[in-house]
């Protein structure tokens, strides 16, 4: 109920934002050299000549019955546009999010165990720098090395990686070779997202483990002679887990939102790029549909975090 209310607020806010903005969607849709009449006709076809209230009511009525309308620029159903882009973003996001946590959490914990040693300082510098680097900049660098520079640098063939789109154009591969082709195209985007993500998670895991290690109950456990493995597993890990699970849940919406920058640089037809294109061409129905989809994901993720927390943290009884 609250979730539905929140989603309604989100789409209403988006609608208001879109329509408050100066400019006219129809002007962007007419071909060069079109007359004023053409623009007027397009405006009428899209229903943009009706009052704001009518347009809003129409959209809301459609959305409630599951109809998100048709895209201004392609004329296709918005749900079809989103459904086509979603698997690309979700695959990219799921792979990189899994790697992010599988790499980031152990690094952070290892750093915490080696607190204030040279290796901890080095890793802190590396993870902070990776966290500070814009993804599109790293992407350009990797493309320069592994795509354009591969031959010049004499990299082995398996390290010469493609950086445009999902599959090699002109080749119709299926089955195993097709999957391998897709995998080769995914190496660079996934590594960038996983690398930057893992840096952030490592920083967070290190901080939260260090917070716990300073607690009295850890000192007590050590004092009564518990082995360091049991202190780590029973006390430190058990206490660090809940906040990591919350962080994981909060990262999930990013997975469906796709990565605008990585998808733009690598020309992946995912949700991030679809949204960006829609925003640039004022494709209102697609923007509204995408926003609805994102807010649903954010709300679900928050809900999932709240539901999962009592399961791993016995101190939080489900209220």
């Amino acid at each position: 109920m609250i979730a539905a209310g929140l989603m309604w607020l989100v789409v209403t806010l988006t609608f208001v934002l879109l329509r408050l903005a100066p400019g006219d969607a129809a002007v962007l849709l007419v071909p060069p050299g079109a007359s004023v009449d053409d623009a007027t006709r397009i405006r009428a076809e899209l229903g943009l000549d009706r009052s704001m209230t009518v347009q809003y009511a129409r959209w809301l009525k459609g959305a409630v019955s599951g109809d998100l309308g048709t895209s201004f620029s392609s004329g296709r159903r918005v749900s079809a546009v989103l459904a086509e882009a979603a698997p690309v973003s979700v695959t990219l996001g799921a792979l990189s999010l899994a790697l992010t946590f599988l790499i980031g959490v152990p690094i952070g914990m290892w750093q915490a165990a080696r607190h204030r040693t040279p290796i901890d300082h080095v890793l802190t510098a590396v993870t902070t720098a990776a966290y500070a680097a814009p993804t599109f900049w790293i992407a350009l660098g990797l493309v320069a090395v592994f795509t354009y520079g591969a031959a010049v640098l004499g990299l082995p063939p398996w390290l010469r990686l493609p950086s445009f789109g999902l599959r090699t154009p002109g080749l119709t591969l299926s089955g195993w070779p097709g999957l391998m082709d897709l995998a080769r195209h995914a190496v660079l985007p996934v590594s960038i997202l996983a690398g930057v993500g893992a840096a952030g998670i490592a920083r967070y895991a290190r901080t939260s483990v260090l917070d716990i290690v300073r607690m009295d109950f850890v000192k007590t456990a050590r004092g009564k002679g518990a082995t360091s493995a049991s202190v780590f597993g029973r006390h430190v890990l058990a206490n660090a887990l809940p906040s990591l699970v919350v962080l994981f849940a909060l990262s999930l919406p990013g997975l469906v939102a796709g990565s605008v920058f990585v998808e733009s640089v690598f020309a992946w037809p995912g949700l991030g790029r679809t949204t960006l294109t829609a925003i640039l061409s004022r494709d209102y129905p697609v923007i509204m549909g995408a926003t609805l989809w994102y807010s649903g994901a954010v709300i679900l993720a928050n809900l999932a975090a709240e539901l999962a927390l009592p399961l791993i943290d016995p101190r939080r009884e489900a209220a």
Binding site: L6, M7, L9, V10, L13, T14, L17, L18, A21, P22, G23, T128, A129, Y131, A132, A133, P134, T135, F136, W137, L140, G141, V143, A144, Y148, G149, V196, G197, G200, I201, R203, Y204, T207, S208, D211, S243, V246, L247, L250, S251, P253, G254, A257, S259, V260, F261, S264, T275, L276, I279, L280, R282, I287, A290, T291, Y294, S295, V298, I299
Partner: protein
């Protein structure tokens, strides 16, 4: 504050580096002989590599871009924009968030509910999407970017301050101040707010890095600072197709950007460790990292 900075060597180094960088951004374009915007003799000046001297005898520390403009001077001019936008965007957002959070906690009732509903609504859309929608629909400029950063960045701090204030308001010293006849606003201003500020300061410092990254991202996509006026993001975008032939055009502004965000982050880390910043805000800033 001074004692705090001295306690953490890394944060001290971060402050010094940022100060030097900011000073260079102010001074270099002002005293440099090269005009960072004017396009001169493109054919003889374009894409000179770093540490080269052109035909006229001018030295180019970081080389030149495709129009023959000195990259170092341009980068420092871009730094003015990027630093100002990043700092203004996060500090004003934090101030607004503090105000909203304090107002919500102190007034309660429907004002509280309305403000928090607005915050939750904005938090239910990924920040980057919100930023793109706002930035794309209005005429792109530095002011637009700052306004958009503020509009999409105040909610976290507002929630934080509200939670802290509700906690502080129940403390005996605030209640005794009220009982002694302090006006409600004075109690808020003198007692509750200073005690709730720590986490807000931490969030702001860590937010500077995020804001600079977001500005560069918008500019990279062509929705932020518009050429010929340089920002680190649009300079990287300008070097995009030159990444093989003249990699320095994109590497130089990228390095400046990373250095700045790096320093802002370690300063934020140090402040968090000493001011006991909140972990929920940190989680959000990590999850929002685009």
């Amino acid at each position: 504050m001074r004692a705090l900075w001295l306690r953490d060597r890394f944060a001290t180094a971060g402050v010094i580096v940022l100060a030097v960088l900011a000073l260079a951004c102010v001074l270099v374009p002002a005293i440099a002989s090269a005009d960072p915007l004017a396009i001169g003799d493109v054919l003889s000046l374009k894409l000179l590599p770093p540490f080269s001297t052109d035909a006229a005898g001018n030295f180019h520390l970081l080389g030149t871009d495709r129009f023959g403009r000195d990259l170092f001077v341009r980068m420092m001019l871009a730094g003015r924009v990027s630093l100002t936008v990043g700092i203004a965007g996060s500090v004003i957002a934090a101030a607004l968030g503090t105000g909203v959070g304090a107002l919500a906690a102190w007034s309660g009732g429907w004002i509280d509910r309305a403000l928090m509903a607005l915050a939750d609504t904005l938090l239910a859309v990924p920040r980057l999407v919100l930023l793109l929608v706002c930035a794309a629909l209005w005429r792109p400029s530095a002011t637009t970017v700052v306004v958009v950063l503020i509009a999409t960045g105040w909610m976290g701090v507002a929630r934080l301050i509200r939670a802290e204030m509700i906690g502080v308001r129940a403390q005996p010293y605030v209640q005794s101040a009220v009982a002694l006849g302090t006006t409600s606003w004075r109690a808020l201003w003198r007692h509750a707010l200073p005690n709730a500020l720590g986490p807000a300061i931490v969030a702001t410092t860590l937010g500077v890095g995020n804001a600079i990254l977001l500005e560069s991202g918008l500019s990279f996509l062509g929705l932020g600072i518009q050429p010929p006026s340089p920002s680190w993001g649009n300079m990287i975008a300008g070097g995009r197709d030159l990444i093989v032939t003249a990699p320095w055009v994109a590497i130089a502004p990228g390095t400046a950007l990373i250095l700045t965000v790096f320093c802002a982050t370690i300063i934020g880390d140090a402040l968090r460790d000493s001011l006991a910043g909140d972990r929920a805000g940190l989680r959000r800033s990590i999850a929002e990292r685009a």
